[in-house]
Symmetry: C2
């Protein structure tokens, strides 16, 4: 067989893909991947091509079988916990068991007392208990204080009585609750006895309770519990997860089922609040801090598929009689895809750096030092927001760059988008949490006003600019200068903060919700500085020339998108777009192959077939399509009759009468 | 029952929704809708909520049943052709019969000889023949000249012999071919006898052939034909259409099965080309020209759902103890949704005006006058491109504005996005066809250079600016001036054309494909002028104050998005963003309800349940969810066992062994 276009381009690539892969993944992750992934890739139960044929219920049943197989493999191969978690994550779609690991166990770990952890976590690990995290209600999500589920302490029996009073207070959206979980961590407004209140109780805000919801032996709902699955999601996404709903009718749980690492209720019903009201932030910051890297890696899948396909795909020749061009040779295709390749790298690097800051902060917190919380909270929130905006939009763009076949489920990119788009909404809706960033930055600026010499954490240091802008002029020929790039982005963010400060100075009681649009712009600007900076650092540390070109493309693309903000901040943008176009042009298709190969994907990890590493796409498409049930005749007669029933032809009459 | 937030807002709205509806739809369409839609809305077979539960094959079978019911209703209610087509279109998703109507019949009508039309069209109308349009191949789409399917004329038998020589030459993506159609219009490279050629044949480019593919009595594939369904599409879109593939192995059709309105093959094999090489453009322009209005109306559905939901949805209160705010009250929600409302109106108006120009052009063409072709072709192409970009992106934004429930299939918006996103790809991929616009505009500029007084059609008239830019300064307080708005947009387009002209002047042989990125920017700029102008005209003609505000918001939003281009064109954009933010602020939620009510949607037309006109969303969500098969116990035991098999509990062992 003669080599494909993709193979030819690969053979001419000078990129050291192996070195870059090591850089991106690190030696530990590589070793884990090498051990675990081939096992999954070779097991037909993890084959992704047949999934789009399943309906909602079939999809969930299939997902439970996948989970079961995973547990068998874990035991068979004696996987460590890390290896098992790697296997769970490499499925990309969130299966029910992953919710028990991520949400249920993580929260117990961070908010449970030592005794509670000792009791519950081992049972979770053996899956005697399968858990889910139940905060959102049909009518309440973002506003946690407004939750309607109540947990009233009954000092007589030493139990909490938990209720979702009205139909619209039912828990909703809860991952793994639909059919899988037997326990739920329920957020409920805690009510403790208080004889001064007319009702005899006082509400002390939302707290977490472990509630058994299904019998461990029969798996049927326990008394007082109505539970079910909320059904299909947008775009066929989250098809392997049973998000569920839950009504609680006076369900009683023992006192020590309330998580009590921070606030506590004593046996006789006295409430003792947490010592520091932000101590419970840990797990929230952790979940947010993981999103940028996940987004980066997910976009990396999408863009690998799209770039490989667009090299394989040919269309039109430049002059009659010559072979057709790869569609990546067209200016527009390159301008659509290469910045996305750079974006995936950018969020992988920035995500790593963010997680490092998170671990730093946790170390400090453990020593009682809360000084890093504000910075890391703002950063994780800004990056969660911006990475999900940029990467998800990039996935749909990558899909479209593949033309017609991009719209086939065989492209695989739609599945990635469908899975990732809700990251803009969960773990805090992007527009809601942007206000937290804006508030933190404004607070820092106010502090600075009073104490101009106050030390600022690294990612806040540009705030000095807000109060005393330093002179800054750009040069059209100098856009590839890293310091010009960063300074220009800082000017943008500083300008937006300044605008906010002016509004708040005029009317200090302006509600933050009126500022939510501006806050979102600010979150983006704040994130951009950190992401561009992380990429620049990675490039400096490793000196790889291809990485340098990609980093430059990322900075310039970020700046081009920020042109409206730059103009308002008084930055002269002359030459910027041209510089970005030149940076696109500096990436060859051979380099693009090397830079996507550096992600190290197995074919199995890329859904669909168009991203296959050997570039033999049409053979594979034909093979897969001809094998589909609908073409193998399984539905043949039924479909034939249904079609025949439409025709005006005489012979259709019998078919019609049968339908 | 007390009124919902939505009902309260509606009762306080001063918008004359009925008058605006008349304006948007026109009296004929309103009458058609009133007659046809209630029939469908009351028939359970057209219920949309159960659809997301069907797998691929079930979805197609369901779709065929829907088609059958439509034909029964047509006969039962004695619908005229117009009424029947209204029913077909109001399903929103493209069902197989719609392909026969739109693609197959439209093309025969425009490219068939009078005898051919007389023979085929009545048979299509009675559905004795169900057709599809088969142009795209697995490996070829955009490049029609590069198609590999051949039709060789055999003068002996007076037949064409049609072949898809290799596996990758199979037709692919063909709507209604998967299981429904019994005939296909096949694009194939015509080969006519030519004794000067070594092969004895000469290729004369792509032509259209009617090819019977399934037996009309048994509906089984005819000899030499392999046909099947290409399977699921991205996002679960196009689930009710059986896009298919087709291999042809020396299939013979009679000579008069080639469409011969323009070029012809005589019985003895002489080829006679079309008189004017653009005469066959008619049906292509027609299909493109319909897209902007479809996009506008589709976005209108999405934005109606989102605005209604965001008024119903409350979250957070401004001060403790006060009721929670509707989420539309938050600045960011308004800034996300109101410009989209304006966008849907904009493309509805522009789409109307475009179709009028199209009918004008067809009248001229019928008189042999081709002068309007270039303008209408460029306009329809630019508007197809820009409307699909803007409206599809708007749909996903509208979905996200709904927070968590936006990601449920119950929001309905995902289904609209999934159906509309391929409009960016089919009827000519946006990036491919943008080059046609760029070419047309450059050609006009070149003409102008030679003949500065040459008359230009309306939408081209700003091209005078390219050669002799008129002085133009903006004022920050004057952004609501319609003439400042249009002039600024013209400056953008003129600047891009000028950049292109400079490149081409330097190297006249620059391939257009190198210019595809710039061409896409130009297509957008060219379209924007027309769309803003159409909205301004509609406002002037009707003087409705709410429409005026919305029109202003549209112009300003378009200008804000164009800031980078404006800056490059030397336009001072000071005050522009602020003007747009003020225009958002000028729309009240009461007006927004009135302006969405003006689309006149029946609840049935809006997929999902969150857009219900009465705003009683949670009751309806709860009702629908509890009725779903998975919760009504149909899969109960099977799901229970699969879940139980995961638990580490002893009792799980039996369940495990069964799975
Ligand atoms: C796939 C998926 C999985 C999930 N899994 C779980 C789970 O396992 N457990 C669980 O408890 N929950 C889960 N959720 C729920 C999720 O946490 C919430 O949907 C999310 O927090 C958003 O809240 P909401 O739906 O109430 O949105 P809302 O807050 O109602 O948002 C609606 C709109 O209002 C806007 N808005 C709201 N408040 C403000 C404000 N103050 N300022 C400006 N704008 C505002 C938002 O931007 C948005 O546009 C899941 C959701 C999804 C989509
Ligand atoms: C839902 C759906 C329904 C369809 N129904 C039918 C049908 O009924 N009958 C039928 O015949 N076909 C049908 N098609 C096929 C459709 O017409 C083609 O997919 C479409 O024309 C795009 O062509 P392509 O797939 O070859 O894309 P390609 O041309 O291969 O595009 C791939 C990428 O290359 C880029 N590209 C290609 N050429 C150039 C260039 N010269 N300059 C710059 N960039 C370029 C594109 O922008 C795109 O990013 C359907 C497709 C879809 C998605």
């Amino acid at each position: 067989m003669s080599p494909t276009h993709l193979q030819t381009a690969r053979s001419q690539s000078k990129v050291d893909s192996a070195a870059i892969e090591k850089l991106l993944r690190g030696p530990e992750q590589l070793a884990l991947r090498n051990k675990v992934l081939p096992v999954l890739a070779n097991d037909p139960i993890f084959d992704k091509t047949r999934k789009p044929f399943l309906n909602h219920a079939q999809g969930i049943i299939d997902s439970l079988k996948v989970c079961k197989r995973l547990l068998e493999l874990r035991d068979q191969h004696n996987w460590t916990r890390e290896e098992y978690v790697m296997a769970l994550l490499s499925l990309e779609e969130t299966v029910p068991l992953a919710m028990s690991e991520n949400a249920f166990m993580t929260v117990i770990d961070s908010q449970g007392s030592p005794e509670q952890k000792a009791h519950w976590l081992p049972r979770c690990r053996s899956y005697e208990i399968i858990g889910c995290y139940a905060q959102t209600e049909i009518a309440h999500g973002s506003n946690v204080q407004g939750l309607q589920t109540t947990a009233r302490y009954d000092a007589q029996t030493k139990e909490f009585v938990i209720n979702t009073p009205m139909a619209e207070d039912a828990k909703f959206w809860i991952g793994a609750m639909g059919v899988t979980a037997n326990h739920a961590l329920v957020q409920a407004i805690l009510q403790v006895p208080d004889s001064f209140q007319p009702s005899g109780y006082r509400s002390v805000g939302p707290h977490l309770f472990i509630v058994p919801i299904r019998d461990q032996i029969t798996h049927k709902p326990l008394p007082g519990i109505t539970v079910g699955d909320i059904g299909p999601k947008a775009y066929g996404g989250f098809r392997v997860l049973d998000n569920g709903y839950l009504h609680l009718n006076s369900v009683r749980v023992p006192r020590d089922y309330m998580l009590m690492a921070h606030s506590k209720v004593s046996p006789n019903g006295e409430f003792q609040p947490a010592k520091h009201d932000k101590l419970s932030y840990g797990s929230m910051v952790y979940l947010r801090a993981g999103i940028p890297a996940t987004q980066g890696w997910s976009l990396a899948r999408a863009v690998t598929i799209a770039i490989r396909y667009c090299i394989s795909r040919t269309q039109f020749s430049t002059s009659p009689g010559t072979p057709e061009n790869s569609v990546i040779d067209y200016a527009s295709t390159r301008h659509r895809l290469y910045p996305l390749l750079a974006t995936s790298y950018a969020y992988i690097f920035a995500g790593k750096e963010l997680l490092n800051s998170y671990y730093d902060m946790m170390d400090s917190l453990a020593k009682g030092d809360v000084s890093k919380l504000a910075e890391v909270h703002a950063l994780s929130t800004a990056l969660k927001t911006k990475s999900s905006w940029d990467c998800v939009a990039g996935m749909e763009e990558a899909r479209k760059a593949m033309g017609g076949h991009g719209y086939s489920h065989l492209s695989g990119v739609a599945a990635i988008f469908a899975q990732q788009t809700p990251a803009q909404t969960f773990e805090g809706d992007n527009y809601v949490i942007s206000q937290q960033i804006a508030r933190a930055l404004i607070k820092a600026v106010m502090l600075l006003k009073q104490h101009p010499q106050a030390p600022l954490p690294g990612s806040f240091s540009y705030l000095h600019q807000v109060l005393s802008p330093s002179p800054f002029t750009t040069s059209p020929d100098n856009w590839s200068n890293p310091s010009q790039q960063i300074q220009a982005l800082q000017k943008c963010a500083a300008k937006i903060i300044n605008d906010l400060a002016v509004v708040l100075a005029k009317n200090p009681r302006t509600p933050w919700t009126d500022l939510s649009w501006t806050s979102a712009r600010l979150a983006a600007a704040h994130a951009d500085i950190f992401v561009v900076d992380s990429f620049q650092k990675a490039v400096q540390a490793h000196g790889n020339p291809d990485l340098r070109k990609l980093g430059e493309l990322y900075s310039l693309t970020t700046l081009v998108k920020a042109i409206p903000e730059l103009v308002e901040a008084g930055v002269d943008t002359a030459g910027l777009r041209q510089a970005q176009e030149a940076a696109v042009g500096a990436i060859s298709k051979e380099a693009a192959v090397g830079l996507t190969d550096a992600f190290g994907w197995l074919d199995w990890e890329l859904p669909g077939v168009l991203g296959k590493k050997d570039g033999r796409i049409y053979e594979e498409m034909t093979r897969v399509v001809e094998e589909w049930d609908i073409n193998k005749g399984e539905y043949g007669p039924q479909l034939r009759e249904a079609a025949l029933a439409l025709t005006g032809h005489e012979s259709a009459k019998t078919a019609k009468s049968k339908l």
